[in-house]
């Protein structure tokens, strides 16, 4: 019983939760102030908390999309570029083609899935490394978005009903948070409660082993990338609704925040292990950091919240990565290489 407690306390997710709480308390005290008219402003207000939730939905969705990808020992650098492309396509369907909003959304989701299928097909059918394939599509998707808009067009004037999705509240919470929660629950169930999701870990741990165990490795891996494409399209819709405009640089650089959230959440970058709730904690830790920094008086004076957040997130990713291999390094340090006698070679006992 006692050992269970210790194991639970030392779990990655528990430590991350403690870090998150510490972070939150710090910003609550350092980032909240009372302005001249005696109104409480800054981090400690409920509005600000909802704001954090609203702003973390898109990166949160991308991180959710990346969790199964990274668990299967892959990577998808193109999700944020795909977000930009889908935002533009959605704007074009609605504005230029005159389609009703629901049809435009459905078409965008389908195209997002197709873009993910492009990644998945190249990776599985041609056995190309995910890294270089998605680096190529990273450039391709963003480039297409820029080419379609000629780097200048932005689509605006969306109807109020659509903007409700991104700017209003429903049942007390920001509307898009409900979509985010639904996606989170769905992916959690998929990864943690189905044999289908369990196979992701088997594939990430050892693709050969998974193949010998009879799993359709290629199909599953391709599906993970299709899923990532669809979720990136959902994130694009929410992004467009929040800002009220669709433009080619939507979500520029989000892939870093999403990957950081996943790695911070304890998913192994080598594949084979990871959890969706860990990713959610990672997203929360980054979102609180990013928004909390903007409320600190020092950072406000320097007018450099964006840069600080990027810098700290990059550094955080390095720290998380380094700490994830420390146990392995320590183990290598302690076990000196020594010759083990295998049981079959042991001399038979002279009986």
């Amino acid at each position: 019983m006692k050992r269970d407690w210790k194991a639970l306390l030392l779990r990655h997710e528990t430590i991350l939760l403690l870090v998150l709480i510490a972070e939150w308390v710090f910003f609550y005290y350092a980032g909240t102030s009372t302005n001249r008219r005696g109104v409480v402003v800054g981090f400690g207000t409920l509005d600000r908390q909802f704001d954090i939730l609203r702003h973390s939905c898109e990166i949160g969705l991308l991180a959710l999309a990346l969790t199964p990808v990274i668990i299967t020992a892959g990577i998808d650098l193109s999700v944020a570029s795909l977000l930009g492309l889908c935002a533009i396509l959605f704007g074009k369907f609605w504005h230029d083609a005159g389609l009703p909003i629901p049809v435009a959304i459905a078409l965008t989701l389908v195209l997002g899935g197709l873009a993910g299928a492009l990644n998945g097909t190249l990776i599985t059918k041609l056995r190309l490394p995910p890294l270089i394939v998605t680096l190529g599509t990273y450039s391709l998707f963003r480039g297409l978005a820029e080419a379609i808009t000629r780097g200048a067009v932005t689509y605006t004037d969306f109807p109020a009903g659509f903007l409700f999705l991104g700017q209003e509240r429903w049942l007390g919470l920001p509307t898009q948070a409900w979509i985010f929660f639904a996606a989170a629950i769905a992916i959690w169930l998929l990864v943690h409660r189905t044999t289908f999701g369990r196979s992701f870990r088997a594939i990430g741990y050892s693709p050969e082993g998974a193949r010998y165990a009879g799993l359709p490795v290629e199909r599953r891996v391709a599906l993970v990338y299709v899923l990532a494409g669809v979720i990136a399209a959902v994130a694009a819709i929410i992004y467009t609704a929040r800002l009220g405009q669709a433009k080619a640089d939507a979500g520029l650089g989000y892939e870093l925040f999403a990957i950081t959230a996943v790695v911070l959440g304890g998913t192994s970058i080598f594949g084979g292990a990871g959890s969706v709730h860990g990713t959610l904690l990672g997203v929360a830790a980054i979102a609180v950091l990013k928004n909390g920094l903007a409320t600190l008086p020092v950072v406000m004076r320097m007018n450099a919240a964006e840069e600080m957040a990027g810098l700290l997130t990059g550094a955080l990713l390095l720290v998380a990565l380094t700490s994830s291999v420390i146990p392995k390094l320590l183990a290598r340090w302690h076990t000196r290489p020594h010759v083990t006698v295998s049981p079959t070679l042991k001399p038979k006992s002279t009986a």
């Binding site: 056995r127 270089i132 080419a147 990027g310 990565l321």
Partner: protein, 311 residues
């Protein structure tokens, strides 16, 4: 013939593009714009040589663009302080080697995947630079541009320097033991270790070398204009990786040559002017770059699958 098939096919594509330009857009061949184009690409070529080594050793470095910007600004500040050119050059190469060493320690020492490590350093360096400099340009002292020579003199100097470095590295990679080690580590790390090579040291040094070459390239960029832009290197990593992959370096390591990289870089460099001369909008450049990367890796994938099926 078959051994150099990949390099020859890139060279063939390059010749087709050049001939196409000669027929449809002869204005491309005016000497002065052509010289300027080649000089602008000289720093990219130097970084691409280093990147080729990294990719041959089965790693990748996507932080070179940020390194390039940081080194450019640092070197510019030193030059503005009145340091002589030689010392600035040494400092730039030194800073580059240091930044490369950070990546090298994390990748080779801790065994972390290079793509994620360099993604983190990419953003850390870029945002750190933005934070400190707030996007300010660095004004360079007068005598620095083109080493104080005339414009065409400076351009020829840079171009010849880049080609000499390319030649030395291309030869060394084939014929010097250290160069062969890079191939050995990239094609089979364990076999290389059993053959007495220290793979971790080799990987580390390859990253340091890329950093040093990036420093050199940043200097070659610095002397081309009277100011240093803080974002001079953004997007450089994609251009460089595209050139390396198009030039026939296998992303799975152990294969490729700098001659192929040279041809690949020239091919990509011709695209932007070709787009302009053929009256296609320049906004397509990024998409076409991505498509070319995909095309190159797909071609490699198809070829290796066919080769694998035969044997």
């Amino acid at each position: 013939m078959s051994r150099y098939f990949r390099e020859l096919s890139v060279a063939g594509a390059l010749i087709v593009v050049l001939l196409g330009l000669a027929v449809f857009a002869p204005a491309f061949y005016q000497p002065q714009p052509l010289l300027s184009l080649l000089t602008r690409e000289a720093p990219t070529l130097i970084v691409a040589c280093g990147m080729a080594l990294v990719i041959i050793s089965r790693q990748i470095d996507i932080s070179v663009g940020s390194q390039f910007s940081v080194i450019g600004v640092c070197a510019g500040l030193l030059a503005a302080k009145g340091w002589p050119l030689g010392f600035v050059l040494l400092a730039a190469v030194g800073i580059g080697a240091l930044l490369g060493a950070v990546n090298g320690v994390l990748v080779a020492g801790l065994g972390l995947p290079s793509i994620v490590v360099t993604l983190a350093t990419l953003v850390t360096l870029r945002q750190g630079l933005n934070l400190v400099r707030q996007g300010e340009f660095v004004n360079l002292p007068d005598g620095l541009q083109w080493f104080g020579l005339s414009q065409s003199g400076g351009q020829w100097t840079l171009l010849i320097a880049a080609l000499v470095i390319l030649g030395l590295l291309g030869w060394g990679l084939r014929h010097v033991a250290a160069g062969r080690f890079v191939y050995a580590v990239g094609s089979d790390t364990e076999a290389a270790r059993l053959a007495g090579i220290r793979p971790q040291l080799c990987t580390f040094l390859v990253f340091v070398f890329l950093g040093a070459l990036t420093g050199l390239a940043a200097m070659m960029n610095l002397v081309q204009s009277p100011q240093v832009q803080p974002l001079s290197g953004s997007g450089l990593e994609l251009k460089v990786i595209a050139a390396v992959v198009v030039g026939g370096v296998a992303i799975s390591g152990g294969r490729g040559s700098l001659w192929g990289v040279f041809a690949g870089l020239l091919l990509l460099a011709c695209i932007a002017p070709a787009l302009i001369h053929l009256r296609i909008e320049a906004y397509w450049e990024k998409a076409i770059q991505g498509a070319i990367i995909l095309l190159a890796v797909v071609a490699d994938g198809v070829r290796s699958r066919r080769g694998g099926a035969k044997s």
